[in-house]
Each structure stands twice: as C-alpha cells, then as structure tokens.
Symmetry: C2
Subunit: 126 residues, 2 copies
DNA sequence: ACTTATCGATTACATGTGTAATATTTGAAG
DNA sequence: CTTCAAATATTACACATGTAATCGATAAGT
C-alpha cells in the first residue's frame, strides 16, 4: 500500500466521486458533487488541486482539460481512516467499538444474518 | 445531549484522561499524559485552555490551581465521532462498515461470542 | 488571425490545530 | 510584607482546511 496522505473531510467527497468513476474532468466532478455538496466550482477545483499536490490524485492532459484519476486505492484509505478512528476513539479496542455500533445502529434481519456469517467464518480461521 | 463541540485529535487525549478521572489539576493531566503522549506541559495547558474555551471542560478554582472536569459526556462525544466517521467514510451505511472491521481485525473467540450475543438480542427486538 | 470563454494556477483569507514560549498573577515561604 | 516559584493567561507561528476569487494561458469559435 503506497503511502496514504491525509485526506481532509472535504477532500474525501472528491475522492469518493473519483473512486466511483474515473477518469473525470474537474467539471464532471463538480457536476457529480452538486447533488450532495454545495460548493462553488472554484472550491472544488481547489480541493482537486490539493489532492493532486498530495499525490492522492493524478491527471492526464486531454486538450485544455485535465482528466483526473485516483492514485490511491479506496480500500487503503478506508483502512487508514478506520484504524485512526479506532485508535483515537476506542483506544484501538475493536470489540468495544463494534459492540457500540451494533447496539446503537439499526440493522435489518438480513444484515444481521450477513454479519453472523462473517463471524462464523472468522471463528473457523483460528 | 448538550451541544458537543468539535474536539481535535490532540484534545481527545486530554478528554480521555478527564473521563477516566476527574476533577484533575493541569499537572495531574500532564502527568497522566506523559505516559502516552510526548507533549511539553505547556502544550497540554494549551489544549486544556482550548477545551475550556469550547466548553468541553470546566474548572473550579482551588487555591492557585484549577481543578478541571469534563462538561460533555464521553458517550455523547463517542457517538458524535462515530456518526461522523460512519457517514464520512461509509456514506452512513452501518453494515458495510461493520463487515469491513470484522474482516480486517483480529478477534478472540470470546469476543466473537460476545458479538453474536449482541446480534441475537438485536434480532429479537424487531 | 483575433477575440473570448474557460481551464488550470496562483493568491486570499479566516479559522483550526499542533506545538510551544513568554508574560502576568498570585499563593506560599521566609 | 516581600520575594519567589509556580499556575494561569496571552502570544506565537507554521501548516491544514474551508471556501473561494483573480490571473494567466489557450483551445475554440468567428
């Protein structure tokens, strides 16, 4: 896993768009974000520029526009953020964190079943 | 739940100390943190001051020293952070987040058993 | 070939954060 | 009561972040 830079909250929004589809032009990204966020296009350009500087995003010139793509994998970024969250908030204790979510959040029967399956598999591995 | 201010990464360390035990003097907090963090005492004073300003921490004068205590509950802060994490990284989808952790992290048989119990209880509630 | 609409690049600016040092106040010691 | 040590308050400063506007280059249209 390449060195994952820190990606801020606003920048994550941009990354999520690119992970869903890439390459994309800045305008297409702005378009995609117009549904969820309320940023001016210029703001989005800034976020993209910062991601490029952090080497989280790369681009290829295509005429006068650039075509942007992620340089870091979503799974890797998720893992970094997850570990950071876990250690920051729960002192790295996985089980209490999971228990906390399980108790608070709503889950359908199917989802519960799915989680059970994962637990079963996990237990088998020991 | 009172309005929970944003608590930065470094500030969380301080809050964790106070949640474990309070009230505490600034020096005691610094002492407690010397084990985990490598901040100068002055730095810790700054963090405390900021938490006071944010009204996450209160104090009572006791002679020339102050005795600090949390003004916000740990459970509430954990909930705020958890929701933020969940929506930021997993678009608010609980189950995929849980699945991701279950698959990546190590869990003892006992922990797995405990999680199963929670799932059972949850299923019963529907 | 010129003008113009647009792109990306550069600049802006307030606020937050990490990480402290200096200044000021004040309880305690003599 | 004066002095000193220690605690709090104020100030510092660079970098990150949210949120954009302006500048300069250039492809596209006429």
């Amino acid at each position: 896993m390449k060195n994952i830079p820190r990606i801020s909250e606003a920048e994550w929004q941009v990354m999520k768009v690119l992970w869903r589809q890439s390459p994309m032009t800045a305008n297409a990204i702005a378009e995609a974000l117009s549904a969820t966020a309320s940023w001016k296009p210029k703001t989005i350009k800034t976020l993209i520029a910062r991601l490029v500087k952090k080497e989280a995003v790369g681009f290829e010139k295509q005429g006068r526009e650039y075509n942007y793509s992620p340089l870091v994998k979503e799974a890797d970024c998720v893992e970094v953020e997850s570990r950071s969250f876990l250690s920051r908030i729960f002192d790295g204790a996985t089980q209490p964190m999971l228990a906390s979510f399980l108790e608070k959040e709503e889950l359908s029967a199917a989802e519960i079943q799915e989680l059970r399956k994962i637990l079963d598999k996990k237990e088998g591995e020991e």
